[in-house]
């Protein structure tokens, strides 16, 4: 960054730089303010909220969290969210890095075709295909089951993960793969001993993206599950909204509970996320 700054300063005139800072600052405030509001309101009692919706709490309380956790039955919802997010993430990593290795380093007409097939998946969203999914799952007897949620989760997350994996693995020198071949490693050995360790930054990125996508997913679980025992935190929060429409304290505490794991994930893995995006800049 320090090397870039002077050149940016030289190229961009100061009025534009000031304008950029003002816009970015405004955007940041616009994004952060509602989050801060939700956070401190979740520590206010219902009476304080009714007195003023905007003011910070005079007395900080954890009652909203205690009640939201119990009323919303969050322990079960958390278990489900963790289960879907973790299992999907593991499966997506294994499949996408394997596919990425094949698409990036074992090129043929067939692999190119398969890669295109995966890329088309980027254009399909859960919302746009919820009806066929529902019909297919009902037909297969997968509706209202955890497997019926996991399979679409893997399917809808694999395309982007493969795209990231291919882009990253392409950046690995072919000569490293060839050196491993000459050293006696077969494709499985190369995958296990060379590609997987070298792809650690992109694996972390894929893990964060997939976990995040699964954690915040709402439409599929809402549509597929009528059984509350297989629902996730996101659906739980939305149902809480219906039941406690005017109890903002409960509701905001539930939102904080639902968001906290993602916040922790980003705080701890921010660097890995950046490393994953600066892919292709590796030297041997």
């Amino acid at each position: 960054m320090s090397r870039q700054s002077p050149s940016v300063r030289a190229i961009v005139p100061w009025p534009f730089r000031i304008a950029a800072w003002v816009i970015l600052f405004g955007f940041t405030v616009f994004t952060i303010c509602p989050l801060v509001w939700v956070l401190y309101t979740s520590f206010k009692s219902q009476s304080e909220i009714m007195r003023s919706l905007i003011a910070p709490p005079l007395v900080w309380t954890l009652d909203n969290y205690r009640n939201a956790w119990e009323l919303g039955e969050f322990s079960g919802l958390f278990f489900n969210s963790f289960l879907y997010s973790t299992v999907t993430t593991v499966i997506v990593i294994l499949l996408s890095v394997s596919a990425g290795f094949a698409f990036a380093k074992i090129p043929s007409r067939k692999t190119r075709l398969w890669y295109s097939f995966f890329l088309v998946g980027l254009l399909i969203t859960i919302s746009s295909s919820i009806v066929p999914i529902f019909v297919a799952e009902t037909w297969l007897g997968l509706d209202n089951t955890r497997l019926g949620i996991l399979i679409p989760y893997v399917a809808f997350n694999i395309s982007f993960a493969v795209y990231l994996a291919v882009a990253y693995i392409r950046g690995i020198h072919d000569e490293i793969i060839e050196a491993a071949k000459l050293d006696g490693a077969n494709y499985l050995g190369i995958y296990r001993q060379i590609i997987l360790p070298m792809a650690r930054p992109i694996i972390t990125t894929i893990a964060i993206f997939t976990f995040h996508a699964c954690w915040i997913e709402y439409v599929l679980v809402y549509m597929i599950s009528s059984d509350s025992s297989i629902r996730t935190v996101q659906v739980g929060v939305s149902l809480l909204n219906g039941r406690l429409a005017f109890n903002y304290g409960f509701l905001f505490a539930a939102i904080v509970i639902a968001t906290l794991p993602l916040f922790i994930l980003f705080v701890f893995f921010r660097r890995h996320l950046q490393a994953g995006f600066s892919m292709g800049s590796m030297k041997g």
Partner: protein
């Protein structure tokens, strides 16, 4: 240590033939250099020997055994890549031990061979480091060490010095020559740098457009190039060529040799000597003089419009730009090529 034979080796990508009719015989313990311009197929040929590229037709034999269908790791070859191709997540020790572990060697044996190779290359202090913690020269040594521990029958070097700076390149070149003398193993070395080729090789294979132009010792190639391409490629600065009819007639009479109208005459810059313009073999208008300390290079243009270079003693030319200078040469150093570029004399 093993001999290597290539018989009618060809390579095509679809309908495009990139190499054809490659016949080579490389003796035990020889250091052979493949040299040629970019895109001539020298690296492809090396990769075909390594088994990293399939051949379309022909046979490749290592140690008398045809290896066309043998996987790279079973061919008894080890390769040093241009980019070093070290495994970045492994320490130097693990990089060097990787092949032995794949082969299922015992840990004692792995340790002995890795440490012996590290000792011989003076990198034993680097064994616990990762490649990113090494300089270019150190990485190069590790890459060579990784090849040595496998104790291959044939070493393959793919432009191993091209990423090093000039000083380190010269030093590493000498080390590779010493390594070859010590191991006495068959080595094939690919380069586009003719200095590396001339200084390292027992034999040089000159490649062009996917074909072998000439095979010979460095001095054979220098003194008796088989064709105009080899004559132009070997030697720095490159050989001067004269094919203008008027000039050829004059040159033929001065040198007292028979020349056809379609001939091309070649003289190396170091074989041209300054003389009076009246007695000269060739004369030209001076364009520029480059001074190298031990010699000067004079860039001239002949009357026929041909640009040529003369390598002359330092500060022997004091003329100005445009001055006409005459040069002569002894007939033994004059090469004649026929209309298709083959050596005629």
């Amino acid at each position: 240590m093993a001999s290597l034979k290539l018989r009618n080796v060809a390579k095509s990508y679809g309908t495009v033939q990139v190499m054809s009719g490659i016949n080579l015989s490389i003796g035990d313990g020889k250091l052979v250099v493949f040299v040629g311009p970019s895109g001539c197929g020298k690296s492809t040929l090396l990769r075909m020997i390594a088994g990293l590229e399939e051949i379309t037709s022909g046979t490749i034999s290592i140690g008398g055994e045809v290896v066309n269908d043998v996987i790279p790791s079973q061919r008894g070859v080890a390769m040093v890549f241009q980019s070093y191709a070290l495994y970045p997540h492994m320490t130097v020790y693990n990089n060097m031990a990787f092949a032995l572990r794949q082969a299922g060697s015992a840990q004692d044996e792995i340790d002995r061979r890795v440490r012996a190779a590290a000792e011989s290359l003076q990198i034993k202090d680097l064994l616990n480091r990762h490649p990113r913690q090494l300089s270019g020269g150190q990485r190069q040594r590790v890459a060579i060490g990784r090849a040595i521990v496998r104790e291959p029958e044939v070493f393959l070097f793919d432009e191993p010095l091209s990423n090093l700076d000039a000083a380190l390149r010269a030093q590493t070149r000498v080390e590779i020559a010493e390594l070859h003398a010590r191991l006495n193993t068959t080595m094939i070395y690919v380069t586009h740098d003719q200095v590396e080729a001339l200084t390292l090789a027992d034999n040089i294979v000159v490649l062009n457009n996917g074909r072998v132009e000439q095979v010979g010792t460095p001095m054979e190639l220098y003194h008796c190039p088989a064709n105009k391409f080899v004559a132009g490629f070997i030697g720095s600065p490159q050989m001067n060529f004269f094919s203008d009819e008027a000039e050829l007639n004059r040159l033929a009479s001065v040198l007292r040799i028979e020349l056809e109208e379609t001939s091309t005459l070649g003289v190396r810059p170091e074989h041209l000597f300054l003389c009076d313009a009246g007695k000269s073999f060739v004369s030209g208008a001076l364009r520029i003089v480059e001074q190298f300390g031990e010699y000067d290079l004079a860039y001239l243009t002949s009357k026929g419009g041909v640009d040529f270079i003369a390598k002359v003693p330092p500060e022997s030319i004091r003329g100005e730009r445009g001055q006409i200078l005459g040069f002569t040469a002894v007939s033994e150093h004059v090469h004649v090529f026929n209309e298709v570029g083959l050596r005629a004399r």
